[in-house]
């Protein structure tokens, strides 16, 4: 996957540096020396942070305690007059009179394992959608209707593990604050007795709303069913009616009873009918079946398939939608024309990842062809290189954007989920547009409403992070953050470096502890003061034999927790960086979920993190540079994030 993306990379980057210094991200007012925005404390923090930048050695990444890093290529670490050599960061809150005691691990119990209530309680998020308790998975039927955003979801009301699934329901005015409503659909018919599974909503031109969803029948056959609001004038759409003639679709000949699920939102055909697609498989070829209908009650199966890719296995949660080639808005699902490309997305049952591809839709044949067959559905680009599955978009006509929802599962044990009483989150909703600069991938970005939760901005401008050093960022708190940063490596260093064969892979190259000439560098989030636990999110730049740079974006869970029963993988991918672009990173930290975005949303990584020590007052944020050959200059805006009603 990463090798194929390098084709994109190489065709655009040049042998000169692909990035150069640029001002801070738009819209942010730097609180510099000449304009103290909040208080003079900001200036003091800034100066202290710069001095601290040189104080410590990054070998903490590689071992259990402070150890000198190998191959420290730079000149002697500039000393800061009078600063202590040990890695202790400046205590947060000392200026406010908070005692030092709050920064030491909880005394008494060995608080690493097993899980204490304190640790488990901390894991619940502040601004990510999640039910009060028990299990959730796929998002269903997202829609904006009569002034409200609706989100339905796969819900198991009885336990924090998957089981007999119903449709949970919640509404919002802003996609961020939610009002939980009663269960919309239960398993009360023979055709959905084993589960009311995933489905989608379609708004008809007359304003009617219809839902198609998969039912697992009393004999575990997967069928499609029609449902609609009992009272369309109820803005909250609390009660739902199942069409008495259900099921409206059963598995067609040649399709297994258990390979027929997750109908999409419908779109208009040139003949004026409605068209949907449903994922399936034939042997190990993932496929997408196409049905036309005029009334959502009787359907006609088209002869061919929308698309198929051998070897990809079952396609779950297929999604199909237009994106504008030139415009910045989203498009209604029925839009078509010369200024439009179409995305086919599917969730691969075999590897639990969401893949998408951009291509061309032939509305008359009901077929779609990828622009780049080597990056076809299931073998090419992913929405997200971490934990991200069963995602689904909808067209938000309220703000003319296409919004993406996704299920983020837990990566701790089922036993922990039982103990804490809940499992799963939705990722922060993201807008999707075509990347106009590369034309070969989409851009995802947290919906702008999330910015309303930002408060208490701390700015760190032009922080020089020397090779092999660590900078604690002094913040009131570090479990709910929005971090926006730009990085610049030293141009001269890059120019004089010899290139080499680039064989970097986030997952296999040892994470943030593995040093290269030009990386890794970035942030350590949810970090304990001694780095006993920390989660690095970083760039790794590599110079090829041809002089071109490749940039990788990774999130490293290998040291995220002392617990021995949580996932400690390292996720990530190559990220295209174009000439003139700085290296840009945004990270949303919300307790046990970290969402990282590189280059304004070109590459995204969602991680689940379960520290035992780096929680509550002991969670901190660090800047680090573990590159051997270059210093890194970072400009960072960090906001505290308020909690939402979730």
């Amino acid at each position: 996957m990463m090798a194929s993306l390098s084709d994109v990379e190489n065709s655009i980057t040049t042998s000169t540096l692909p990035y150069s210094y640029a001002p801070l991200p738009n819209g942010e007012q730097p609180a510099g020396n000449d304009r103290p925005v909040h208080s003079s404390r900001k200036t003091a923090l800034f100066l202290v942070s710069v001095f601290l930048a040189v104080a410590s050695l990054v070998a903490l990444f590689a071992g259990n305690g402070p150890v000198l890093p190998k191959n420290l290529n730079t000149s002697a670490v500039p000393s800061t007059a009078g600063m202590p050599e040990k890695v202790a960061p400046l205590s947060r809150g000392v200026e406010k009179g908070v005692s030092e005691k709050s920064f030491h691990p909880l005394l008494g119990a060995d608080n690493s394992f097993p899980w204490s209530n304190n640790m488990l309680d901390w894991q619940r998020t502040a601004f990510h959608f999640q039910p009060k308790k028990n299990w959730m998975n796929d998002p269903n039927g997202p829609v904006f209707y009569n002034g409200w955003y609706h989100l339905f979801y796969q819900y198991h009301p009885d336990a924090p593990v998957w089981g007999k699934i119903v449709w949970g329901h919640a509404v919002s005015k802003d996609l961020i604050n939610w009002r939980h409503l009663p269960i919309a659909m239960e398993t009360d018919e023979w055709y959905d007795e084993q589960g009311v599974w995933t489905g989608s909503a379609t708004i008809l031109p007359n304003g009617e709303l219809v839902v198609l969803y998969t039912g697992s029948t009393n004999e575990s056959v997967q069928v499609q069913n029609l449902a609609y609001p009992a009272d369309p004038s109820d803005p909250l759409l609390i009660k739902w009616v199942k069409y008495p003639g259900n099921p409206v679709l059963v598995p067609p000949p040649g399709i297994d009873n258990k390979d027929f699920r997750d109908p999409t939102t419908a779109w208009k055909t040139p003949e004026g009918k409605w068209r949907i697609t449903i994922g399936s498989k034939i042997n190990k070829t993932g496929i997408s079946l196409v049905y036309d209908t005029e009334d959502f009650k009787t359907f006609e199966l088209l002869d061919g398939l929308l698309h198929a890719v051998p070897g990809t296995g079952m396609w779950e949660c297929v999604d199909f939608y237009p994106i504008s080639k030139q415009g910045e808005n989203g498009l209604d699902t029925s839009v078509d024309g010369p200024g439009v490309k179409h995305v086919v997305k599917a969730s691969m049952d075999d590897d639990r990842n969401d893949y998408y591809a951009i291509g061309t839709y032939d509305a008359y044949k009901g077929k779609w062809t990828p622009d780049n067959p080597t990056l076809d559905v299931g073998i090419g680009l992913r929405y997200d290189y971490g934990i991200y599955y069963a995602s689904k978009t909808f067209y938000d006509q309220n703000k003319q954007r296409r919004v993406l929802w996704s299920w983020i599962k837990e990566t701790d044990t089922e036993a922990s989920d039982i103990k804490k009483g809940w499992a799963s989150l939705m990722g922060v909703p993201r807008t999707i547009v075509l990347d106009k600069k590369t034309q070969s991938n989409i851009i995802q970005w947290p919906v702008e409403e999330i910015n309303l939760l930002r408060t208490n901005l701390t700015v760190f401008k032009n922080v020089v992070v020397e090779s092999g050093s660590l900078v604690p960022l002094n913040l009131p708190s570090a479990s709910q953050l929005d971090i926006v940063a730009e990085f610049e490596v030293d141009k001269k260093t890059v120019e004089r470096l010899n290139g080499a064969d680039i064989a970097y892979d986030c997952a296999k190259n040892g994470g943030a502890a593995q040093r290269g000439a030009l990386g890794p560098f970035g942030f350590s989030v949810l970090a304990h003061e001694g780095l006993a636990e920390h989660t690095p999110v970083y760039f790794y730049v590599a110079k090829g034999v041809d002089g071109n740079l490749q940039t990788f974006f990774c999130a490293d869970q290998s040291r995220s927790s002392n617990a021995n029963d949580v996932d400690k993988s390292i996720y990530g991918s190559i990220v295209p960086v174009l000439k003139g672009e700085k290296l840009a990173m945004r990270i949303l930290v919300d307790h046990s979920i970290v969402e990282s975005f590189a280059q304004e949303g070109r590459t995204c990584i969602t991680s689940r993190v379960y520290p035992t020590k780096a929680i509550n007052n002991n969670a901190q944020l660090f800047l680090f540079n573990n590159a051997t050959a270059t210093k890194v200059t970072a400009s960072v805006n960090v906001w505290q994030m308020n909690s939402a009603h979730v």
Binding site: S112, V161, K164, Q194, G195, Q222, N257, E414, A415, N564
Partner: protein, 172 residues
């Protein structure tokens, strides 16, 4: 007793047909086990259950998950015995007891449920979780700087869970 040639022929044909279907089911079991990390373990687990003779792939997966459950119960008994004779290992053994209880009370029912309700990927999650739990039990001794008395038991559980997981993956 007088046996007419027709009766004998009928009985022979009946016997042959049973032989053929038994062979065919045996073939399914053998081919299924070839796709798992422990062929012999898989064979012994599946053949130990007479239901495997007539089971389809989902049925074989369920049999494997029940083997995980039985293994879990036995291990829990072993933990209780160890607690009596090795009180110095109480902390780690207590943790092991908790995780194996999780296997039996949570992972196994989840996997059985998912297989019956027709969504095998959640069954795979249950068996993957079981393997993680058995490793966590093993590590809990190291965390307390002690030698594990359960290495074989934990490995056995991990192996059976991985066999079950491999069979379940064939259903995806």
């Amino acid at each position: 007793m007088k046996s007419s040639p027709l009766t004998i022929l009928f009985l022979v044909l009946l016997f042959q047909e049973n032989l053929f279907s038994a062979t065919a089911d045996r073939l399914l079991i053998e081919n299924t086990c070839k796709g798992t990390p422990s062929y012999n373990l898989c064979l012994s687990v599946l053949l130990a259950d007479p239901h495997s003779q007539n089971a389809d792939l989902t049925g074989l997966a369920i049999i494997a998950v029940y083997a995980v459950k039985n293994n879990g119960y036995q291990t829990l008994q072993q933990i209780e015995a160890l607690k009596k004779f090795h009180p110095e290992l109480m902390a780690a053994l207590t943790q092991c007891g908790e995780v194996y209880k999780g296997v039996v009370d949570v992972d196994v029912p989840l996997s059985i449920n998912a297989l019956n309700l027709g969504n095998p990927k959640f069954a795979e999650d249950g068996m993957a979780d079981t393997a993680v739990e058995s490793q966590a039990c093993e590590r809990s001794f190291q965390d307390h700087a002690q030698t594990s008395p359960m290495t074989n038991a934990n490995k056995a559980m991990e192996d059976v869970a991985n066999v079950a997981r491999a069979i379940i993956r064939m259903l995806l």
